[in-house]
Each structure stands twice: as structure tokens, then as C-alpha cells.
Point group: C2
Chain length 433, copies 2
């Protein structure tokens, strides 16, 4: 038998424990597939005495996490600590500097520091693996880096946050309001006590920035992701979208314009036509679509989070390393990754959904129509109805024809100044073909 791959495992939360369990439960098949035994040598976490339900007595406990990588009996480091900076980043830097490849599930760290870490790996003949950082169990990183490697990909998009998708599909099936579904999701463990990273779109934005770099061969640029969450969504939005033939999904969408050498990245609730595969993805599931110029549309779908699915992705990376794969982190050497400009979203052409809450009195619709005419926005469909709002208020929901987003922005700015608006307008875009 070949010599074992020795692992230092940092972070013993649910995913870390899942990795220990998976390596144990599937040891036989993993050894065959990896071509050698995979052995955890040392572990580290904040609290040594916590009962985690797994036996840690065979592993060396290391108090100083960032010192783990230095040990001679360590081949690779698995970082499941989390957080974009702090101990996770220190450990990543020390491991890669020491020539030890790093496996991580840490989307925030990769989104913020992935390029630096990739360079560090390249310089030290090791690599950074992050399958588990995007879309849980779905092998989307390998699917794009290896499976779609021959393609120019100009667009990638998907459902990247299971919590939001759980909430949106529950709002759909129960006709409930956002706040009620969120409380239920928290009670069932589908949403964190502080859910802001999920519901404000930040988690999806981390993942989108990673996917964009990998698909387009661009330097990762998390700061440029336009990020909107789902807090502002109301039950009537879901209903109106349904009447018009759409389901609402929080999507991350990135596109590259090769003529302008410009990168567009946005996380936002989108209206998705009901016959699109993403419209029918329900619960805490993730799904990613990549459009290659030869492959056509590829769809990858699966569990987006959870200890076992995430452990599955972490172990896949470990097996890659055991097999000797040290391929380029973002699909090509760092020096080949392009730095391109950020696209002007106002230039984007598409259909938009606009929902406005107005005072229910004569002339309001005329005012709105005039504002839209002046901004050159033409309306494809409009519904005004009492949707259970307070007395004296009405809800107007409309879908525009194709047009530049800048015209929508202008419309919203003008309308926001009107005395007849009783709440901020809500704009969502419609996923184009």
C-alpha cells in the first residue's frame, strides 16, 4: 500500500465532525479511490473539552492552530474554522507558506483572499482547494475547472444560498410573509440566529465572486458584487410574480462582456420563468447554471449546506490531493487571471419587476405612468389591487418590457420623492434567456 496522506484538521464544528465521521465510515472505499490511506494526525479547535460525539483520542491536539502546518507528519491542512480573516487566514497562510496544500470550506476567506492564497500556493508547490466553499455537496468547482475546461463561459448563475431558497419556496407554498417564514426557519435550524449573512445576500456574494473568477479567468473581485437580499420581499410579490408566470429566487449572476472587458456580478432576488429548472428548486437546495460556448447550458444541483454534504465536498478535495492533483486554483495560473473593469449595471438590458405601495387615491396611477413615460420605461403588464394592505393603501406591481436598467433606476428615484408613495419601491430583475 502507498504511504498515507496525513491531515491536520482545524475546526471541529458540525462540518469538522462530519469530515471525521465520513473518513471513518467510508474508509474502505476512500482508501481505494484515493490510492492510499487518509489519516487525520492532529486536530485543533477553540474548546478542547467540548463533547462533539466523536472520539478524538487518536489525534494529537494542537492548541496553537497556526502552528499545525509546521509539523513534519502533516501533508495537508484542512481548515474548517470559518471567518474571512483571523485564525483561519493565519492558518491558511502558514500552511501554504510551508508548502502544505490547504482544503477549506471557507467561502468568506476565499472570496476575500483567494487570489493571494492561490499565489502563495503556486510559489510553494502546493495548492488551495475549496470545493466545499461553494454550493455544499455539489462538485461545482471541479465541474467548472475540469469538466467545462474547454469552454469560454460568459455567464454563470444560480441559487447559492440554501437558507434564502428555503425561505422563498416556503413563502411560495404557504403564501406567508418573510418575517414569519424566517422565524419558522430559525426554529427548524435552516436559518442562523443572526441570519443577516444569508438573507442579505453576502454569503451568496462570496460564492458568486469565486465562481466568476473560475469561469471567466478573472481575478476574484468580491467588492464589486452588487448585493441585495430578500428582507424587502412581501407575500404579494410572490403572488404577483406567480400570476405573471414566475417564481422568485435569490440568484447570484455573473456575466463577462468580452468586448468591453467588463465583469458584472450581482446577487438579488430574480423573477425566474416557471419552466426554468431553477424556478422549481425548492427548500435548502442549491443549483448552478454555467453557459459554455460549446457545452451549452450545464446545470448542477444538490444539497447546498449541512454537515454531511459539506463534508462530502471537503473529502473530495482531500482525495484529489491524495491522488496528486495540484492543479491551478482558479483553473489557470495566477499570472494569467485577468483584472478587468466592473460593468455599469445601468447599461444592462432586461425586464424588471417593480412593486410600489401607494396612497389609494385618484391620480396616483396617472402620476406613476407619467414618470415611467418620461424615463422611457414601457410596461408589459401591471396589476393594481388591494393585496391586504392597510386601508387607504394600494399595491401596484408591474413588469416592464426590455429596457436599460438605468431607466428603471431613474423611475424609482423620481417616484421615491412623491408624496403618494407610502413605502420604498421594490425592484427585481427578470432572469433572461
Amino acid at each position: 500500500m502507498n504511504k498515507p496522506l496525513n491531515i491536520a484538521l482545524a475546526g471541529l464544528g458540525t462540518v469538522g465532525v462530519g469530515v471525521i465521521q465520513l473518513l471513518h465510515e467510508n474508509e474502505d472505499i476512500i482508501t481505494k479511490r484515493a490510492g492510499r490511506p487518509i489519516r487525520i494526525t492532529s486536530v485543533s479547535a477553540r474548546d478542547r473539552n467540548k463533547d462533539r460525539g466523536v472520539d478524538l483520542s487518536n489525534y494529537r491536539w494542537v492548541d496553537d492552530m497556526s502552528a499545525m502546518a509546521g509539523a513534519d507528519d502533516i501533508d495537508i491542512v484542512v481548515e474548517l474554522v470559518g471567518g474571512s480573516d483571523g485564525p483561519a487566514l493565519s492558518l491558511a497562510r502558514s500552511a501554504l507558506s510551508a508548502g502544505k496544500s490547504l482544503v477549506t470550506a471557507n467561502k468568506a476567506m476565499v472570496a476575500h483572499h483567494g487570489f493571494e492564497l492561490a499565489q502563495l500556493g503556486e510559489g510553494n508547490e502546493c495548492t488551495l482547494k475549496y470545493e466545499a466553499a461553494v454550493a455544499g455537496a455539489i462538485p461545482i468547482i471541479k465541474g467548472l475547472r475540469d469538466g467545462a475546461a474547454g469552454n469560454r463561459i460568459d455567464r454563470v448563475y444560480g441559487i447559492l444560498n440554501g437558507t434564502c431558497n428555503y425561505i422563498l419556496s416556503a413563502m411560495e407554498s404557504d403564501s406567508s410573509d418573510f418575517a414569519d417564514v424566517l422565524s419558522a426557519a430559525q426554529a427548524r435550524g435552516y436559518a442562523e440566529a443572526d441570519p443577516s449573512f444569508d438573507i442579505d445576500g453576502v454569503d451568496a456574494a462570496h460564492k458568486l465572486a469565486i465562481l466568476a473568477s473560475l469561469c471567466f479567468g478573472t481575478k476574484i473581485n468580491f467588492e464589486a458584487v452588487e448585493t441585495y437580499g430578500i428582507r424587502g420581499l412581501m407575500a404579494p410579490d410572490i403572488r404577483q410574480a406567480a400570476v405573471l408566470g414566475y417564481n422568485i429566487r435569490l440568484l447570484g449572476l455573473a456575466e463577462v462582456d468580452n468586448d468591453k472587458q467588463a465583469l458584472f456580478q450581482r446577487v438579488q432576488p430574480y423573477l425566474v420563468k416557471r419552466d426554468h429548472p431553477l424556478a422549481n428548486v425548492i427548500g435548502p437546495t442549491n443549483a448552478v447554471v454555467a453557459e459554455g460556448n460549446y457545452s451549452g447550458r450545464l446545470l448542477f444541483q444538490g444539497a447546498g449546506a449541512g454537515d454531511k454534504p459539506t463534508a462530502s465536498a471537503v473529502v473530495a478535495d482531500i482525495i484529489d490531493l491524495a491522488r496528486g492533483d495540484k492543479g491551478a486554483v482558479f483553473g489557470m495560473p495566477c499570472e494569467q487571471l485577468r483584472e478587468i473593469i466592473v460593468a455599469q449595471s445601468g447599461d444592462r438590458i432586461g425586464k424588471s419587476y417593480i412593486r410600489i405601495m401607494v396612497a389609494d387615491k385618484p391620480g396616483v396611477l396617472a402620476e406613476i405612468a407619467a414618470v415611467m413615460r418620461d424615463a422611457n420605461v414601457s410596461i408589459e403588464s401591471l396589476i393594481q389591487q388591494d393585496a391586504g394592505q392597510k386601508d387607504g393603501e394600494a399595491l401596484i406591481a408591474m413588469v416592464t418590457h426590455n429596457g436599460p436598467e438605468s431607466a428603471i433606476t431613474q423611475t424609482i428615484e423620481t417616484l421615491s420623492n412623491s408624496d403618494n408613495m407610502v413605502d420604498d419601491p421594490m425592484v427585481m430583475h427578470i432572469l433572461g434567456d
Copy 2:
């Protein structure tokens, strides 16, 4: 720049030409991702003089295909000739014997000779790559071999033949009969002039046998695939299934029973619940579901055939080889692949759909009901109606409760001997959770 990877390309049909075009059109990005230039050195095909719409003048023409691999300026061979034996197999053997890795889109050859070829590769420090042999552009081989490598997978199933899926979804949307849709599909190029490999399930069976080996770590066993096609389907079957909440899809399904060490593989039209992702896959699309014990259900979907999608998969394999990946062909070394028994399909428990055409006269339903009672088959729902059949004939369609398939087989055998049957009964199984 690193030294180029030199390719011999055998077979210049639509896929071969697609590979030439893809390598040219995406040369820049492919070179970056592969880490080195990829260069076609020599080509071979039956007819040298045919106009294929691409310039072949830069490549050395080789008349004797099986001699291609011997040239010193060849690193790998790409086989796009087709056919399970004959020139394709000769070429594959000569390439792998010479230590040149082989990339192929040839599902028939891999299904019949994959194990032998994998051994040959192992013995000569090269490998066999066959991403394009299963599910077109979808990176299902890499997704399972690498992405799901940490999982024990006990079930894999999917839509593996685009022609059949095109026909079935057209029958669904147009309420047409099989024969009419087949003619239309042939006219549009979605079905071959001789469509039997597709519509009789053989093509899907090739792919299923490959997937089963990869997922379960078993020796490939194409002969053991129970194979049924879609010729017998009638428009009323589609309608009755729809009434009961199902769409009909030709699925390949393989399961391993680890207690009995038994392998089940079947290609057959299945009834798929309308809320299952596979039920909504329409047109010539493929989709594969693999269920891992940690990943949960993974779904991969995309274009199942065509020159560009298939070229995308071929080139992904070429890039793998350019990067130095020589991993195990079926996910683990050949000596680790198990040879296990073939499962008895009669022991399988599930629901079945049975359609019978009977003489429309008193007592027939009572006869059927008695036969089913005697075989201990209990009926969940039954529809008897005049579905546009000939005078004096009636169609009875039913779905059974869960039960062993052997009871269904017994029922069908008994009924087939009845004078009241005017056609062979049609049995399809229902995809379980």
C-alpha cells in the same frame, strides 16, 4: 511555455470536426487552462477527400488508423470513430499498449471493453478517458469520479438518451403517438435513420453500465443490463400517467445491494412523479442523479448529444491529460473493482404501471381483477376507458401498490394467455424515492 501536448485524432465525423473547431476557437483559454499548448498532429478517417468544412492541411493524414499511436510525435490519441469493436478497438488497444492515453466518446466500446482497456492503460502508465461517452457535455464522469469520490453511492439513475427524451416529451406536449413523433424527430435530425440503438434502450444501457462501474466500484457488466425501449408506448400511456401525476421518461437505473453483493441495472420507461427534477427535463437533454451517503442527491443536467457538447467533453479530457491527470479509469485501480452477482429483479419492491388492451365485453375486468388477486397484486388506481382504440376494444391502465416485481410478472404471464387480451400488456415501473 511548457511543451505542447500532441494529439492524434481518429474519426472526423461531426464530433471530430467539433473537436478541431473547439481547440481552434478557444485556443487561448485552453492553453491557459491546460498549462501548455494542445496541438493536433495527425488525423485519420475513412474518406480522405470528403469536405468537412475545416482545414486539415496542417495535420498529417494517416491512412492506417491503428498505426497512429506508434508515431513519436504523438502524446495521446483521441478516438472518435465509434463502434464497440473494429477499428476503434484496434486503435484503443494499440494506443494504450504503446503507453499513449486514449480519449474516447465511444460508449459502446467502453461498455464492452472498458475493463480490459483500463487494465491495459494501468499496465502501461497511461489511462482511458471517456467523459464524452456518457451524457454529452455533462461532466458526469468527473463529477462522480472526483466530485463524489468520498461517498458510498448505492443508486444512480438518469435520462441517458436524448433521442428518447425528445420523443417522450414531444409525445407529452403534442399527445402524439410514438411512430408519428419518431418520424418528425428523424426529419429534424434528432433521431437516426436507423433509430434502434436509441429507442430500444441500447445506447442508454451502454452509458448505464459505465456509470454503475464508476459509482459502485464494480467491474463493468453491460450484458447484465435489463434493457427495454420506448417502441411499445402509446399516447394513452402518456395521458394516463399524466392523470395519475407522472411523466414518462426512459431512465437507466442502477442500484447496488451491499448486503447481498448484488448489482441491479435496468433501462426502461419509468413513471416519474411530476415534482421530481427528471420529470421536467424536456427535449434532447440528459440528466443524471447520483445518491451518495454523505452528499445526498446530486443532479447533473445538460446537452446529451450534438457535436459541440460532445466536443466539450472530449476536450475536457484532453485538458485533464495535459495537466497530468492519469487517475484510475473507474475511480479505483482495476484490481479493486468488485465482481458481484446480478440482482434478481423479481425481488424488487415497488409500484408498477400496467396497461392492457382488452376486448370490451362483460366479465373482462372481473377476470383481470381475479388474476391480480391470485398473484397478490393490489391496485392503487385503475382507469378503464375508450381511449380512441378500435371498436370493441378497451384500454385498462392501472398503478399497483408497492409489491414485488415477480408478482407483476406472474400477473402479466397469466393475462397474456387470456383470449380477452387483444395486445401484449405493457409494464412500466414507477421511480421510487
